[in-house]
Point group: D2
Chain length 359, copies 4
């Protein structure tokens, strides 16, 4: 099940960065949901390279086609296959990669695993694989919004040392989309953009933190043991390319507090229970408690830099390698729709699981 | 599959903190492995309450019985059921919990989910559920050690602000076990122990960080997309009670570096490839690269404190609740075997998956 | 997942015919279902050896204990572990089996697979493994009955050449239980019993057919492709020890008809759709159509006979083996509760799946 | 997992008979297997309509494209997406189906399940869905042949009352393919063809039996409990459109024998164990014993006939429906490659499972 995610709302992504295209099969989608390519394309546009001056300049339109699972504009309840053709394959750009392993990429480890690799790009480890996730995530977001009243959102919280000030309970989608770095704190966004541009010019790259949130999740989603909501979110986020860390609610910072300080007191008002603080990040014992869910994901600086670096060739001899042509100085703006997609995929899966077991 | 973990080496835990006991069924274990209770009990002893003055004083011997899956001291390849009876059930200690939800516990969320809960303890959300994980993990560790030459280890890296200095490439099991906090840096360990004792006396609790490592993992374990090795580790760790964060290799700290600084250069010596730094934490693109795997897990301060706290009762009226009798000031020493167990379960599963596909 | 059955109502059986006992973990059971041992024991009594003169005389009370998953007489929604201790282990009865493989048993194939086997009985291939299935099936039957108004039933339809006349739409449980062969056609039942007794005295064995039915299943359960309701039933039935064949509705006999004869005409009355014949057996295209579901399962004659038979020993030398002591002349009366259990497990799983996706 | 089959060699089919096409994603395929469209197309040609005068005259070339998972003619170990475009969609041919449910088709049950259906053909219940299975099966067959020395084969054993005489141990592929009904017993094949032609002219249809075999399977494949080899084969076969029954080895016929007659004696020669009869059909206790595996599958007469039949419309009013234009008198010749494909998919999955656990 290497390429499948989810138990009841299951997605299977397929495709390499170079070849016939990339896609996803969504199995378990509820029937009678209005769905067309227009519901999916906007998120793919937020994910694609070339969307602004601070991301990878690869030019692909990433136009999605629904190959199955809908009829007269509605889902049938059967597998939905979504396909995006590859159009910008330039094998010559990768010639050197045939002979050498790029440092901190998956070239060496894929070869160690399979004894073969598609050296024309990153194969399955390429960020291009996330096309399928984002496309499937668009469907998941639609279901959450229309059938469960749940909103999922993500934004850039930090670029290197520059940290934004954002309120997870109030931030809006249009604020996130108001600038090319996708940080809703506009002043900080400008600083972030300047830093990324500086890095791009220096042929170097920079990482940061994306914060993901979900509002309107009712109390009761998630499982008490292995499939805790935060455990599935952690897996979802660590499965994104370049991610290195995940924290929910208070996260690593919470260990500076004592139990008395860290506990979230319950209060009730008009028959509704809430907490007066939210160090838990909306999840307690693996199950949502009705408060806003929020978490942070760290993305390392992109590995491809425009400077010579020590590495080995496929014959295991020492050599050096220098990125050439194109270079993506910061993955964060494009990681935002990926985080949203994975969040929605986790939540819709647990919504269906809750419906199955507890009716 | 709420209570099942793993694809090929699958464990299903069962049991509540109060009831007939807790246990685990391990399915997919290779046949002809020497196995007796003596292989499992030591890790359960490291996990159990009452083992030292700085952990929960609950008194349970946690004696494991193998109910199935072995014959004449060897595994049969069939499901291994392990059972630990409950002996220290004291329902009267929980009487107040029948009426009130404990803050930052799973009482409220479990009730919201199921409409029923075992109020005599934490039910499935209780740390007692981890008995099954640790027991199964002992088997996984044995397979890794004997069949794959892989060593898994964990230790306390940080308690509140006190941080230990430990070298993941060289730390030894006996150093971890040399003190009751399970920190191999002995001087720092003493400070940690003093802090935990102070907290216990104050009726308060404290959190921290456990570092987990795996040495000897060959290049090639893990999957390139959803089931990345770090993604499965993240899920495994965030499924542990009280955990709030996970980072692999450079983690959150890595975002302060640029790509040039953060990349791990490959070098080769005598036909063997290695990296000269290890910001990747032994995993690249979801697949092990042959270097030491290391990661950190944050555990929040234990929620039960000996002070009155605001909460609601089961009728959703405001009230207060104060912990009484027993209290666990710090989960970290007992979290160490849990982290080891989950690490081993993830790795052995991927070892078998690699054997299945790439054979 | 060798020992797990079901997607949402999942059971994992464990245990060998000789060892600490046999059992099952049921994961995914809806919460707040009234459940005690008294709901489960009657079906185990129908399954156990020694219940009449025409079945295996092994003496085991097969008393079930609920180890987890209930509280104050109701299910918690958490894993239910059921355990039946082994009491009649007589290793000496199996001494010869240590050295020789029994013909048409799983001794040789288990050894070929695992390189080890528990020769004290049939290990996992023993009919004793079905204790867990029947126990879990009792829960499934209760859910179907109380929450979905569905009744599941099975009975002996044929013993060797003796065929009973039974109407699947009207047969009642008390008619099935009115005799020791479990055939609701009483006259035929007497003939069957006489044949089985004759076989027992001759040290030989006899097989036959069990018919399984489900009444009250609403239209819409099942999946259109791989997890067709009849496909899951076929797998469930062929997973029972000694079963060799499965047919739904018209089955093998249906191929003697032409399409015109075989099609089931739809009719409607007061807004309700039904078919005027039921060659489909209540399932069309993998999905229930609201008519009675019925199918037949063939069980071969039990392999252990009281006569010397050619076989090989564990050193692969030719030898002979003769059953001794006990001998089960006919598996059919005990297969009836097994067929019922597996039917219920398939149906409740699909009920929950339907609730998840289309609910 | 409604559209996914297999644990380790997993296929997910997608697509409706009318829409963007049909396809399959194969996940878990071993790397470095030579693979091109030329390995797959021949089996699709054996499956497609219009191949002879005795099958459905629908005209589709069913040309397969590999969209992912291969590089320079070899598998990468990553998901293989195979796609066959729809070309013969003629919605007008289905206009009447918009308003009426066809008897003994899945029209009514699909609507009952999902509340929506693609009335332009059979949707997922259409035989067209099997394109993906047959394509994936061609890969499975190649792996079995090249890496495990296993041969899978199927042929028509019976059409209505006409039964062929075939020896499962010796029948050859070229004999199967020597005539359009795919029965290796040529004399009987002629009679079968005449019967089917007669039925076609009469606007009626006829069913029969396909026998499937696997030769060269080593002892030890399969699981002892739920995932018995025969259980997975039964599920695979009953998941094929129009199948109604499955029997392995002696099947229903075996119940006429006593245990003494039915048991397969073991013998050994030069260190190799075999059985002198094969009532078991090559599987004992769910695990292969090294003998030829053989089984039979019953397919009902095709439901679409050229005569008016009673049915109901979508408003649940009584009406009649008559097939028009095209009509497939017998599914058997096209079912042969489907049975082969499903057999190979089951076997390769168990081969990888055996490699994982016991390898």
């Amino acid at each position: 099940m290497a390429s499948t995610f989810g138990q009841l709302f299951r997605i299977t992504t397929w495709g390499e960065s170079h070849g016939g295209g990339v896609g996803v099969v969504v199995d378990g989608c509820p029937p009678r949901l209005k769905l067309s390519e227009a519901d999916i394309q906007p998120d793919l546009d937020r994910r694609r390279p070339g969307q602004s001056k601070i991301v990878s300049p690869r030019k692909e339109s990433d136009t999605v086609q629904i190959l199955s699972g809908t009829f007269e504009g509605k889902t049938l309840g059967t597998p939905i296959c979504l396909w995006v053709k590859n159009t910008d394959a330039r094998p010559e750009a990768y010639a050197e990669m045939k002979a050498k392993f790029r440092p901190s990429h998956a070239d060496f480890t894929c070869f160690a695993k399979y004894g073969i690799r598609n050296w024309q790009g990153g194969g399955r480890a390429s960020a291009r694989e996330t096309v399928g996730r984002v496309a499937a995530g668009a469907i998941a977001k639609k279901i959450l919004r229309e059938r469960f009243g749940v909103e999922t959102l993500a934004y850039v919280k930090q670029v290197q040392k520059i940290i934004a000030d954002v309120n997870p309970d109030q931030v809006k989608f249009r604020d996130v989309e108001s600038n090319i770095i996708r940080c809703p704190d506009r002043k900080t966004a400008e600083k972030m953009i300047r830093l990324v541009e500086k890095m791009r010019k220096a042929g170097d790259t920079v990482g940061g933190v994306v914060e993901g949130i979900a509002r309107g999740v009712p109390a009761g989603w998630g499982e008490p043991v292995f499939d805790k909501l935060e455990a599935d979110l952690a897996k979802a986020m660590l499965s994104l390319p370049a991610s290195k860390a995940f924290e929910i609610g208070s996260g690593f910072g919470g260990i500076l507090l004592t139990g008395r300080q860290h506990n979230d007191p319950f209060r009730a008002r008009r028959g509704k229970v809430f907490t007066t603080t939210n160090f838990s990040g909306g999840i307690q014992g693996g199950i949502s408690n009705g408060q806003t869910i929020f978490f942070r994901v760290a993305f390392k600086p992109v590995a491809t830099v425009m400077h010579p670096q020590d590495t080995v060739d496929v014959h295991f001899h020492n050599t050096t390698l220098k990125g050439r042509g194109r270079h993506d100085p910061c993955v964060l703006p494009r990681a935002v729709p990926m985080v949203e997609a994975m969040t929605a995929l986790v939540l819709v899966d647990h919504a269906l699981r809750q419906q199955a077991q507890c009716g």
